[in-house]
Structure formats: structure tokens, C-alpha cells
């Protein structure tokens, strides 16, 4: 029977089902038939492997760049194909042979052979990450298996059958096939047609009762037909369109930096069964916030290497999402395992604020920070933030003609500047500071014990990773441990540093914004100002915030906030609402790693695309997007509940807080607010 070509996979499967009734054996081509590649060019998988080998060489003191490794591989593989061509019709190559030869050439004889398993494992992982099983075909293969047909995979490929079996297993087709046959083992390929009689002889198959499915009209079609098989060929225009787009994005990214991030997202795309209908929030997590967080973590890895960081601490609660994504990314971005160890650290502004006063008392800057949120008004708010009992301070306050309810914030009614001066005098009062230190001593000690338990003091330099914005947590943490001789150098990395108040940087205490830092002008990245809360909510851990550290005998205890009250319940509700968004972010990290390893780009290369994403999504969002991503409840114990005076509310409502009707029916709203944002940033 002549071969049949199908432009639609469903039609091919329908016809295949009919033909399979009169067949005992069904064989499938592997690449571009059973499995599709995320990339347009299969050779692109070789590039990260070349980079991996070059890194291995560097760690062993061999100076070689990855381009040279790739050239050597191409040369050795081509030589092997030419050599095979002298004996066999097909010019095939065998991966273990040429790869061991390559490694021996680079590392010398015994080491090269020893390293083969490691390199082969990485190449297989890379190949596997770039392959997706075609759901319709896999379902059909399952049916054929149940019908008792003999099933084979036949591939013209340089990887031997043992390695192809691993790829088939990883694609979720374990035990479906009787055997996997590769041209790398026999040097007899489908291209010449010699593979078919070879397989027929080896397994005792009758060509007339053998159905073959593939994508190549020559190897899988014409040659199979000549061997007496029935052949079905898939020529899917949708696959051609996808690959053509992937090719354009990749090629454009070589010349135009703007497309580098887009090409990476094209490689991250879920395909076939991976691309299931999802809620809108999942979409935002996968296509918007996920890539931003992954780029942040990629840059973090690079910076930690440069700064020779001993340990990375992801600060709660936003650090929870960072650590989850970090786990997904690390096997791909750091296959040599050179990254410092990481740990999730239970901290919060509220918990650290009190502990920071244990040795140094309440500093004026820290007291000023307490009055940044508009809901904080008086001494009671200061006490709430720094875990102090305000009733004990009545004598101290009276000495300075203050009460616990005296207004100390200029944005509240009843504010008098002289009261703030009196408050500053109070901060200089040694008796007052002694009481502050007495009340917070236990908290400070418990914090130190907790930090000791996580190995915080065993490194010279640690990275403190947080979402943003002012670096308050790091500020309090450094204050709390400043008295210790073994306090490490703290290098803070924030997703975005908006720096509302100057950060006290020193040799042992530094802070840097990675995606955005107010210290460097970046208009596009500054659009983070539009909606900082959504990043906080998107990254927040599904556990309550930390209220403080408590001594527990010789040990310590972490005190998490109770969730029974209305605020706690609102937060649980918010966490449930954002669950699809967080799922999208983690899924994005799962695919960002292999895509970034494949592209081999630094975050600086991706920045134009990330900038576009930020402007497009934050400054020019659709109404539907704002409605979906805008948080329902945002809990922040740091913020008090007192209402500032009316003038404070006269400022324009931010875009992300506008009512839906305004967002929908005001065509110039977004450009107007963007102009305002532009003006504000220039005037900063």
C-alpha cells in the first residue's frame, strides 16, 4: 500500500486505528512524530552541553571556551560519519563513541572517559526538557498496547537505543513499547531503508502486517513503502508554524537584543497536553510575574558567585516563592553545583523591629520608619511595631510632656511640630532607652539563637534576599546582630529597591535592587511603583506572618501570627485566591531553567524584554488584568489603622486602585498617568 500523508494528526490517528486492525506491528518515528521539540533546531541542544563541558574544563584548570568545544564536537562527529560511510550506506554517528573521544581530547584519557557519564546525563536531561510527547499519538499507542500489538520506536539518531529509551521514559511512555531501535547502534538507518529489513529479521516481523508512522516523507514514507510496510506520514502545518515562529524569535534575538527575552518565553511555552485551560491568574503568573522572578533569581546567582557569598537566606514571607523557584532553576542554571547553599529564614518587620532594639535601643531613624505608613500616628503605634508595652512608658512620656496618644505624624489631625521635637528628646533619654532594651532583650536573644541554629554566623558573607522595597527587614536584622563579633557581612538583594528612606550602607551591610533600584535611573523598571503590592501578594508564603521570637528555656520559639481574627481569615482567603497565580509562577520557573540554559543569555540580555513586560503589564494593563491581579485583601501589621487627615487623600488614586468603570471607559487614563509617572521619575 502506498504511503499516505496527513495534514492533521487527528485524521492520521483515525486512519491509523483502521489500518492497525489488519496489522500486528506498529512502529513510530521518535523525533517530530511521537515527541516534538520546543526548539526549531535540534542542534541547539548541543550548545548548553558545550557550555557545560567548557565549565567542567575550567574547574579542572583547562582553558577552553564553549565555542571551541562545539567546534571540536562537530569535527569529531563529522569524521565519524565519514568513517562510517566507508563501510555502511548510511553516514551515521554514535554518541558514546564521539563524545568519549571529544572528552579524551579535552581532558586527557582517563578523566575524559570518567566524565562521560556526567556529560551524557546532562545532555539527556537537556534533550528531555526540550521534548514533549504528542498527546493524541501517546493515547493511540496506549490503545494499541492494550490490543496486544507489537510496538516499536525506530529512530535515525546519534543517540543509542539505551539513551533513547530514557527519553521515551521521561516523556511518560514507559513500558508502552516492545523495543526502541536506533541507527546509532547498527549504522543502518531508515534513510537508506536498511533499518526496516534489519528490524524485521531481528524481531521476526512480516512487512505486510506492519504499520509505520513518521514525519519524513523519504525515511518514514518512501523507504518504508519500498520495504513493503504501510506508512502514514504526518505533515502538520500547525507544527510548521510553531517551529517557524520559534526560528524567527531565535534568529531575531541574535541581532536584536529586544527579542532575547521573547525567544526565551517562546522556548518556555507549554505544548500539547501541557497547555491546558487555566484561570486568568495562572496566565499572569506564567507569562508575566514568573519570568520576572526567574530573571531576578538568575541575576542573584551570578551576583552571589561574584561576591563569593557563603549562604543565601530567602527572607520570609516573599522569600518562600523565591526559594521554590530557586529549587526549580538551580539544576539548570548551576549544573556544576557551585551555588552557595540556601535557606528560608523566618523574619518579618514586626518580629525584627523589637529584636533590633535589644542592644541599641530605639534609634531615631527606626522610629521615623514607624511613621512612614499613613496609618501610624502616635507612640502607641511605635510600641505596637517595636513590641513594647506602652503603659510602662507613661512616666518617661510625662517627663517630656507627651502622652501615648499625642499625635506625632504630620499627616494626621492634631499634629504639632514641637511634639515631634519632644519625641526626639525622648529618644535621647537614657532612662527611656534602658526600658526599651529591657523590654526587647529576650526577643533579641531568641533571634540570635534562631540565627545560630540556621548557621547564619558560620559564614563570612551572607545574601539576604527579599522582594523590596526599603530594606527595612535587613536594616532591623543588621541592627539586632551588630554587637556580635561573628556577625557576617550582609549583602541584601531586593527584587526592587524603591528606597523611600536612605539605607545606611557600610562595608558589612549593603543593599541592591536587582530588577529595579531607585539609585539608577530606569524608567521602564520604575513602573513597579504602579503596583508593588501585587508582587508581595504573588510571592507570599501560605503561612501566617511572624510576630516575634520568644525564649523557650535554653532554646527559642518562633511566634507566628494567629489566623482566627478577621485579618487572618482575610489573608487565608487572599492566599486561596492567588493560588493559581503562584502555581503559574512555579510552573514558569520549571520551564525557565531549561530555556535559559539553552539560550545561554545573561539577565542583562533579557532586560529590554523584561522592561517591555513591566511597562505593558503595569502601566498599560487591561481592565480585566487589573481586576484579576488586584489583591482582595492586603494584610500588613506594620501599618496602623488610624485615618490621616483629608488633604492626604486628595492625591490622585493610583491606576491599579481605580474603579473598573474608570479603567474601562477612559481612553486617555493610562497615557496620562504614564506621563505623570515619567515626570515624577525625571524630577526625582
Amino acid at each position: 500500500m502506498a504511503m499516505q500523508t496527513f495534514l492533521n494528526l487527528s485524521k492520521l490517528v483515525r486512519e491509523g486505528r483502521k489500518l492497525a486492525e489488519s496489522s500486528d506491528v506498529v512502529s513510530f518515528d521518535l523525533f517530530d512524530t511521537l515527541l516534538v521539540r520546543r526548539t526549531h533546531d535540534p542542534d541547539l541542544v548541543k550548545l548548553p552541553v558545550a557550555r557545560y563541558i567548557a565549565q567542567l574544563a575550567t574547574t579542572r584548570g583547562i582553558a577552553i571556551v564553549w565555542e571551541e568545544v562545539q567546534q571540536k564536537r562537530d569535527r569529531i562527529e563529522a569524521a565519524m560519519r565519514a568513517e562510517t560511510g566507508k563501510t555502511f550506506v548510511d553516514h551515521e554517528a554514535c554518541y558514546p563513541v564521539f563524545m568519549q573521544q571529544l572528552l579524551s581530547e579535552i581532558f586527557g584519557d582517563p578523566t575524559g572517559v570518567e566524565l562521560f557519564a556526567e556529560v551524557a546525563d546532562f545532555e539527556l536531561r537537556m534533550e528531555s526538557a526540550m521534548l514533549v510527547a504528542r498527546k493524541e499519538l501517546v493515547d493511540w499507542v496506549g490503545e494499541l498496547k492494550e490490543q496486544g500489538k507489537k510496538l516499536f520506536v525506530i529512530s535515525d539518531m546519534y543517540l543509542p537505543a539505551t539513551m533513547l529509551k530514557t527519553l521515551v521514559d521521561k516523556a511518560g511512555m514507559t513500558d508502552l513499547f516492545d523495543d526502541v531501535i536506533s541507527s546509532a547502534d547498527s549504522f543502518q538507518a531508515k534513510a537508506s531503508g536498511l533499518a526496516y529489513p534489519l528490524v524485521a529479521e531481528r524481531y521476526g516481523l512480516v512487512p505486510e502486517r506492519w504499520l509505520h508512522v513518521g514525519d519524513n516523507p523519504i525515511s518514514d514514507g518512501l523507504q518504508a513503502d519500498r520495504a513493503g510496510l504501510t506508512a502514514l506520514i504526518i505533515s502538520d502545518p500547525r507544527e510548521s508554524q510553531r517551529k517557524s515562529l520559534a526560528k524567527r524569535y531565535y534568529n531575531y534575538s541574535l541581532g536584536r537584543p529586544f527579542w532575547r527575552g521573547r525567544a526565551l518565553q517562546q522556548l518556555m511555552m507549554p505544548l500539547e497536553a501541557e497547555n491546558q485551560p487555566q484561570p486568568d491568574l495562572y496566565m499572569e503568573g506564567y507569562n508575566f510575574i514568573g519570568p520576572l522572578i526567574c530573571a531576578f533569581l538568575q541575576e542573584l546567582l551570578e551576583k552571589c558567585r561574584q561576591q563569593k557569598i557563603g549562604k543565601i537566606f530567602f527572607l520570609s514571607r516573599e522569600g518562600w516563592m523565591f526559594s521554590k523557584c530557586w529549587e526549580q532553576l538551580l539544576p539548570w542554571l548551576d549544573p556544576q553545583k557551585t551555588a552557595p547553599p540556601s535557606e528560608y529564614l523566618y523574619v518579618s518587620r514586626m518580629a525584627l523591629a523589637g529584636a533590633s532594639c535589644a542592644r541599641q535601643g530605639l534609634s531615631r531613624t527606626n522610629a521615623d520608619i514607624a511613621f512612614l505608613p499613613p496609618g501610624n500616628r502616635d507612640f502607641k503605634d511605635v510600641c505596637r511595631i517595636f513590641s513594647l508595652n506602652w503603659e510602662v512608658f507613661s512616666e518617661h512620656l510625662a517627663r517630656h510632656q507627651l502622652t501615648a496618644d499625642t499625635c506625632l505624624s504630620h499627616i494626621h489631625d492634631g499634629y504639632e511640630p514641637k511634639n515631634r521635637e519632644r519625641f526626639n528628646d525622648l529618644l535621647r533619654d537614657l532612662a527611656f532607652q534602658a526600658e526599651v532594651m529591657a523590654q526587647t532583650a529576650d526577643s533579641g536573644l531568641a533571634l540570635e539563637r534562631y540565627l545560630e541554629s540556621v548557621g547564619f554566623f558560620s559564614c563570612d558573607k551572607v545574601a539576604l534576599v527579599d522582594i523590596g522595597w526599603l530594606g527595612t527587614i535587613q536594616r532591623f536584622l543588621v541592627d539586632a546582630i551588630a554587637h556580635r563579633q561573628d556577625a557576617p557581612t550582609c549583602q541584601g538583594y531586593l527584587f526592587a529597591a524603591t528606597r523611600g528612606i536612605p539605607y545606611p550602607e557600610s562595608e558589612k551591610n549593603r543593599l541592591e535592587g536587582v530588577v529595579y533600584d531607585r539609585n539608577r535611573f530606569d524608567l521602564a523598571a520604575s513602573t513597579i511603583f504602579y503596583a508593588r503590592d501585587i508582587f508581595e501578594e504573588a510571592c507570599r508564603a501560605p503561612h501566617p506572618t511572624l510576630n516575634g521570637y520568644r525564649l523557650h528555656g535554653e532554646d527559642f520559639k518562633l511566634e507566628l501570627r494567629q489566623t482566627e481574627d478577621s485579618l487572618g481569615q482575610a489573608e487565608i482567603e487572599q492566599d486561596k485566591y492567588f493560588e493559581p497565580l503562584q502555581r503559574g509562577i512555579i510552573d514558569a520557573a520549571r520551564r525557565y531553567g531549561p530555556a535559559a540554559a539553552m539560550m545561554g543569555r545573561e539577565v542583562e540580555d533579557l532586560r529590554p524584554w523584561l522592561n517591555y513586560l513591566l511597562v505593558s503589564k503595569l502601566a498599560f494593563p487591561r481592565t480585566r488584568e487589573i481586576s484579576a491581579i488586584r489583591h482582595q485583601h492586603h494584610l500588613d501589621d506594620f501599618h496602623g489603622s488610624k485615618k490621616p487627615k483629608k488633604e492626604f487623600h486628595k492625591q490622585e488614586v493610583p491606576l491599579w486602585d481605580k474603579p473598573r468603570w474608570h479603567l474601562r471607559f477612559s481612553p486617555i487614563l493610562r497615557p496620562r498617568l504614564f506621563f505623570k509617572h515619567l515626570r515624577d521619575r525625571i524630577n526625582e
Partner: protein
């Protein structure tokens, strides 16, 4: 409920026409560092592929074998040009 990638291989929520719109806006108002931006020619080619790519490849798969003469002619023109 939508898919992360739509039937035109665009990222849902970040479709190609949205990029074209912002690129046009960025021609007049600075929106930040885009290092040269997307480029009109790239945008045009990608628009053709995203919106009409399926039918182009369908025609190529269905009737591509009949285009041998046209391809031959195009190759000749290209050679003549260079």
C-alpha cells in the same frame, strides 16, 4: 479559563498586537530602555506568521510540490540579484 499559549502561538495576555501597539507608542514617548526595540520588519514578519502562518504552511504542505517551478524561478532571481 484560557490556555497559556493560544492557537496562534501567542502568549495569552501578551499577544502580538499588544506588543505592536506599545512599540508604536514608544516611537513617540520614551517608555524605557528597549535597546533598539522590536523593529518594524521583525514585527511585520512575526505578524504574518502569527496571524496567517497556519494557512501559509497548510498551503505549502498541501500544494507545495506544485511550487517547484516558482521556487526555481525565485532562486534564479535571487542569484541574478547577487
Amino acid at each position: 479559563m484560557r490556555r497559556v499559549v493560544n492557537s496562534r502561538f501567542m502568549l495569552t495576555g501578551n499577544e502580538h498586537h499588544r506588543l505592536c501597539g506599545l512599540a508604536a507608542f514608544a516611537k513617540f514617548i520614551p517608555i524605557g530602555k528597549l535597546r533598539g526595540g522590536p523593529g518594524a520588519r521583525c514585527l511585520f514578519t512575526l505578524s504574518v506568521l502569527h496571524y496567517g502562518g497556519y494557512w501559509l504552511y497548510f498551503l505549502q504542505a498541501r500544494y507545495g510540490h506544485r511550487l517547484g517551478r516558482v521556487r526555481h524561478l525565485l532562486t534564479k532571481v535571487r542569484r541574478w540579484k547577487t
